[in-house]
């Protein structure tokens, strides 16, 4: 698996449910970061030349290479806008999140 996915977490009910000391599975994510976004990136795949600059520079690593197209893991995108700002082809637009 390239990226960890959101995993359900069972809250401990007994002291023995806790790990011995502060240690836990690497890449274990009970929470997403989707709630952080005011704007969301929308990709214009026709304009995109797959240069991967957005893939390289995303602070959260949420841009995925998907068979020659870029895809965004919206569970963990925080909507910072770096991808849109850095895109040499202006192929990514930041659009207000709608509830």
């Amino acid at each position: 698996m390239d990226r960890p996915k959101k995993t359900e977490f069972t809250f401990p009910t007994h002291i023995n449910d806790y790990p011995t000391g502060p240690q836990y599975k690497a890449g274990y994510l009970p929470e997403t970061n989707a709630g952080w976004r005011t704007f969301r990136p929308v990709v214009d795949h026709d304009a995109c030349v797959y240069c991967l600059r957005c893939y390289l520079l995303c602070p959260d690593g949420t841009i995925i290479k998907d068979n020659g197209q870029i895809k965004i893991d919206m569970d963990y995108c925080k909507g910072c806008g770096v991808c849109a700002h850095e895109c040499p082809k202006d192929a990514i637009e930041m659009v207000k999140e709608q509830l």
Partner: protein, 396 residues
């Protein structure tokens, strides 16, 4: 058992115990009076008698950090310090116990500045009782060696996983040469199997260690740490028993009672001064006085049950403290007192603060302490904290 006795110092005995325990990583910074231990260990590594990595760290803070790092990948580790160095480690000491890394360290008990003093007292380790380490105090070089081996077995036990500090009095033990039996490596290997822990980073099972926890969980981790310390009570007794069966030397677990069977008055002490108390107990017993010694071996976990048990059987208990918590009393006394307060009986108590900054505690001093306890019972004297053998008059 084949005997292999050599005439070595307490520091060297510790180094022998470490060698026999086969640590993977030793990280230490020199400080008097611990230095000989780390010198011997580096010589052993140089001579190929020890396989581990010897790290020349640039401070005690880095010594404890490096041992934690090595422990966090599953390596058995050792460090050693004393006094100012131990205090410089203080952040790491708390961190290490919280991380549940069973590092073993030797502390050469030495006074704490200011004024500067390289001589022995126990203010360094006693001021760190709350840092979550198991603390044992030894009486001679043999016990120092044996307790290093035992320490790994106790600290690394799955129900404990808590670091352990083996304390020996600076100079009085670290620099005194005596006959010490060196156990066979083969037997130590059988007694102390390789270190296994669930609490490590590995490529088979990658982990994130040392995380932060919010108020929702932090108390639970601390509860668990406290539980582990209480688990150590049984484990350390079992380990001592198994050690006795394997090597023929027993240290009686949490405490050792010396001639307490029918004692009326006992002195409670830690470390090397216990030896001198034994000599005085023998002398006074010969004179028909019912005196005894309670040698406290472990300060954490604290031998509450053992102290209570003895308190029920005697009329007076005096505590020798090679430390003082300024503005109150000696730390050992505070701990002993707290245990005694939980029994339904009056025991006359007194606190003798002595041996500070290396001042000698003589046989005459100890005899005087016993006599003060006897007269305290008889005259129903006020219980007090007394600086023993001051050389000058005071305002009191």
């Amino acid at each position: 058992m084949k005997s292999n006795k050599i005439f070595i110092s307490g520091d060297e005995a510790v180094a022998q115990g470490v060698r026999l325990s086969r640590p993977h990583v030793v990280a230490a910074y020199p400080i008097t009076p611990q230095t000989i231990t780390v010198e011997r260990l580096s010589e052993m590594v140089e001579a190929g008698e020890m396989d581990g990595e010897y790290m020349h760290v640039e401070s005690e803070h880095s010594a404890i950090s490096a041992t934690m790092g090595a422990s966090a990948v599953g390596a058995r580790t050792f460090t050693a310090s004393s006094s100012q160095g131990l205090l410089y480690m203080a952040e790491g000491l708390h961190y290490c116990s919280g991380g549940r890394w069973p590092v073993v360290m030797m502390n050469a008990n030495r006074s704490v500045a200011l004024p500067w003093s390289i001589y022995g007292d126990q203010r360094d380790s006693l001021s760190l009782l709350d840092c979550g380490w198991i603390q044992v105090y030894v009486e001679d070089a043999q016990e120092a060696l044996d307790m290093i081996i035992q320490a790994y077995k106790i600290a690394e036990h799955k129900d404990v996983l808590t670091p352990m500090m083996v304390n020996l009095d600076g100079f009085i033990l670290t620099h005194t040469y005596e006959l010490v039996e060196i156990p066979e490596q083969e037997m130590v290997d059988k007694f102390l199997p390789p270190f296994q822990t669930p609490n490590k980073m590995s490529f088979e099972e990658p982990k994130n260690l040392g995380f932060s926890s919010k108020p929702d969980d932090n108390t639970e981790f601390k509860y668990q740490q406290n539980e582990a310390m209480f688990n150590a009570v049984k484990v350390l007794k079992d380990v001592d028993q198994e050690f006795a069966e394997t090597f023929g030397r027993e240290y009686h677990g949490m405490v050792e009672e010396y001639r307490c069977e029918d004692a009326e008055v006992v002195l409670v002490a830690l470390g090397s001064v216990c030896g001198t108390v034994r000599v005085v107990v023998d002398k006074m017993r010969a004179e028909g006085k019912k005196v005894g010694l309670l040698k406290i071996r472990y300060m954490r976990p604290f031998p509450e049950a053992e102290v209570k048990d003895l308190a029920r059987r005697v009329q007076a208990m005096g505590v020798i403290d090679k430390d003082i918590s300024f503005g109150y009393e000696g730390t050992v006394y505070t701990n002993v007192n707290s245990a005694i307060s939980k029994i339904d009986k009056y025991v006359y108590k007194s606190n003798f603060v002595g041996g500070l900054g290396g001042r000698d505690i003589t046989k005459a001093d100890i005899e005087e302490m016993f006599n003060k306890l006897f007269s305290g019972i008889e005259n129903k004297s006020e219980e007090k904290v007394e600086f023993f053998s001051l050389n000058v008059e005071t305002n009191d």
